[in-house]
């Protein structure tokens, strides 16, 4: 199976600065094995002396903690996203939340599907309201800064308004 693995910022220097890696394996364990063979520097960072995944590293398959599934035995399927996240960092700081407002002429188009395929990003709809004349969607976008910016440029080009929602969360 081909899956995508998200690498946390502190480990990026061991993967040639890539933060999303196309990896292979049928279970999470196999994917981790593939990763540590391909990028040997990752091995001691992800596993302790006994070969166990380090206690303060959490692994998620499509946003679900593997300890709630079958740990390293958790099966993965084509296209799954695996995230490696340091526990104490308190979640992912690479996820950005934006609100997209669509002009009427774009409402019929699969815009979100398109950006997910054109650029190396993963999208997740958090809330939305689409009617005949206007539509908005709040989206979580995950991926490298560069790919994210490309996606935003593309959206603006086709007339979609893009606004960050970070501020609303804080105030």
């Amino acid at each position: 199976m081909n899956v995508r693995v998200r690498i946390p910022t502190p480990l990026k220097k061991l993967t040639g600065e890539q933060d999303i890696i196309a990896a292979k394996g049928n279970t999470v364990g196999e994917v981790i094995q593939w990763l540590t063979e391909t990028y040997p520097g990752l091995r001691e960072r992800l596993r302790d002396e006994n070969g166990e995944v380090r206690r303060f590293i959490n692994i998620y398959v499509n946003d679900e903690d593997i300890r709630f599934i079958q740990n390293l035995e958790t099966p993965v399927k084509e296209g799954d996203q695996i995230s490696i996240i340091p526990a104490i960092a308190g979640g992912s700081s690479q996820k950005r939340k934006v609100t997209l407002t669509f002009p009427p002429e774009r409402i019929q188009e699969p815009v979100i599907y398109n950006i997910g395929h054109r650029f190396k990003i993963v999208t997740n709809i958090r809330s939305a309201n689409v009617t005949e004349n206007v539509g908005w969607v709040t989206l979580e976008i995950d991926g490298e800064e560069e790919e994210y910016l490309k996606a935003v440029d593309y959206l603006k080009e086709i007339g979609v308004k893009v606004e960050p929602v970070e501020k609303d969360v804080i105030v």
Partner: protein
């Protein structure tokens, strides 16, 4: 002062210089302050401590400041009382209460950790202090930041008790209420901490902050006459206090101020937020995060940062863990107030309730000394009990009205007092 060697990863042991950092770069484990215990052992004695002012700073050699504290100089040394009447109700021989409901200045044990963290923030040269809080920490950071002349930003879940909101705002802080649970507040603060050079007392200053909790344990030891009760019950939210009380006991043992520590440590949680108790009962050593639902809001942490170490402490000491329902914790708050005259917050109700349960189940022996840790004040969580304590009786200012209202039992009481006076 100045016995700190540096910071050390609790997982892989890598060492770091003293800096406002809290995570090991290598394995992402939490960092902890390490001390030169040999030097401390040479310099500290029981009598030297006993001569000092009655504050938590009498144990300053075991705290991570470079110089004397600049805020919170009068924190700690709260009463440790023998709880005879509560002991009778619970059917135990020897019961003690360590009462941080009257800690100075903001009436919870958090003043211990915050006075260390804010003093340390000033040593590092920070201008802004901040925290993610379930309420007590918010009160304490706001107050001690005001004392230290620092600006503060405080993040809390939006649905906190009124007393904790007011008890934060009064100090002139920037209080930001997040539409979400404490765990979401905490996650947001981690993100802010990466982007702003602020001293988040429980994030980037966590290694120093957490050390303050040891003084709760030091005081228990000293006030009991340099020994520790056999059973010690501690409330658990993030799991830091329980680990640090244990660390405090072990440090005193290590530097020769205590004989062998043979205490068992018990962790108390509310049933609606019991990730650590659940893990203990299931026999696993990792925490399944929960979505808390309990009126004990100061303990409502579903993803406890020190949950793993709290479990380890409980198991290492041979203790246990238990939880109580909201109903039980309210009853326990009333029980403590009506037997000992101590009004504790919901978290204290949890600790008393769990103690009762552990005694009733025979987990804690009735014949051995027991100590209950009370960490917060009931005036801050009035909502929890306001419909559960009755109402005042309102009458006109006439003696006849009073006589009408009084019950025969109360009347007899009056007469007996009269007779004995004669």
């Amino acid at each position: 002062m100045g016995y700190v060697k540096g910071l050390k990863c609790r997982e892989c042991g890598r060492e770091y210089e003293v800096n406002p950092i809290h995570v090991c770069e290598f394995c992402f484990g939490p960092l902890e302050v390490s001390y030169d215990y040999d030097e401390i052992k040479k310099s500290v004695t029981r009598s030297k401590i006993e001569e000092r002012p009655k504050t938590m700073w009498r144990y300053k050699e075991l705290l991570p400041l470079e110089s004397d504290p600049t805020v919170g100089r009068y924190v700690g040394y709260t009463p440790l009382i023998k709880a005879k009447r509560l002991g009778e109700v619970l059917g135990v021989k020897e019961l003690y209460i360590k009462n941080d409901a009257v800690n100075y200045p903001t009436l919870s044990f958090k003043d211990r950790v915050v006075s260390v963290a804010v003093s340390k923030a000033k040593e590092f040269g920070f201008k802004v202090v901040s925290c993610a809080s379930t309420g007590n920490l918010a009160n304490s950071v706001a107050a001690l930041a005001a004392e230290g002349g620092l600006e503060s930003y405080i993040f809390v879940p939006y649905d906190l008790e009124q007393g904790k909101i007011l008890g934060t705002l009064i100090y002139g802080t920037n209080l930001i209420a997040i539409k979400g649970s404490y765990d979401e507040v905490n996650r947001l603060c981690s993100e802010i901490a990466e982007n702003y050079r602020w001293a988040f007392v429980n994030i980037n200053l966590r290694p120093f902050y957490a050390e303050g909790s040891k003084t709760f344990g030091f005081e228990i030891a000293e006030q009991m006459g340099w020994k520790i009760p056999r059973h010690v019950i501690v409330p658990m939210a993030g799991g830091s206090l329980i680990t640090k009380i244990w660390k405090g006991f072990k440090e005193l043992e290590g530097i020769g101020l205590l004989d062998r520590v043979e205490s068992k440590i018990y962790g108390a949680q509310a049933s609606g937020s019991n990730p650590i108790v659940s893990a203990f009962k299931e026999g696993i050593d990792w925490i399944k995060p929960q979505r808390p639902k309990t009126i004990a809001k100061s303990l409502a942490i579903g993803n406890p940062a020190d949950g793993f170490y709290a479990l380890k402490t409980i198991r290492e000491s041979g203790g246990s863990a238990e939880d109580v329902s909201d109903e039980e914790l309210v009853e326990a708050m009333k029980l403590l107030a009506r037997t000992e005259g101590i009004f504790t917050e919901t978290a204290g109700g949890v600790t008393v309730g769990v103690t009762k349960k552990l005694i009733d189940h025979g987990v804690i022996s009735k014949d051995e000394p027991i100590l209950i840790s009370i960490t917060g004040n009931g005036l801050k969580t009035q909502e929890a009990v306001q419909d559960r304590v009755g109402k005042p009786q309102i009458i006109d200012a006439k003696f006849s009205e009073f006589e009408k209202m009084i019950t025969p039992r109360q009347k007899r009481l009056k007469e007996s007092v009269f007779q004995s006076a004669i």
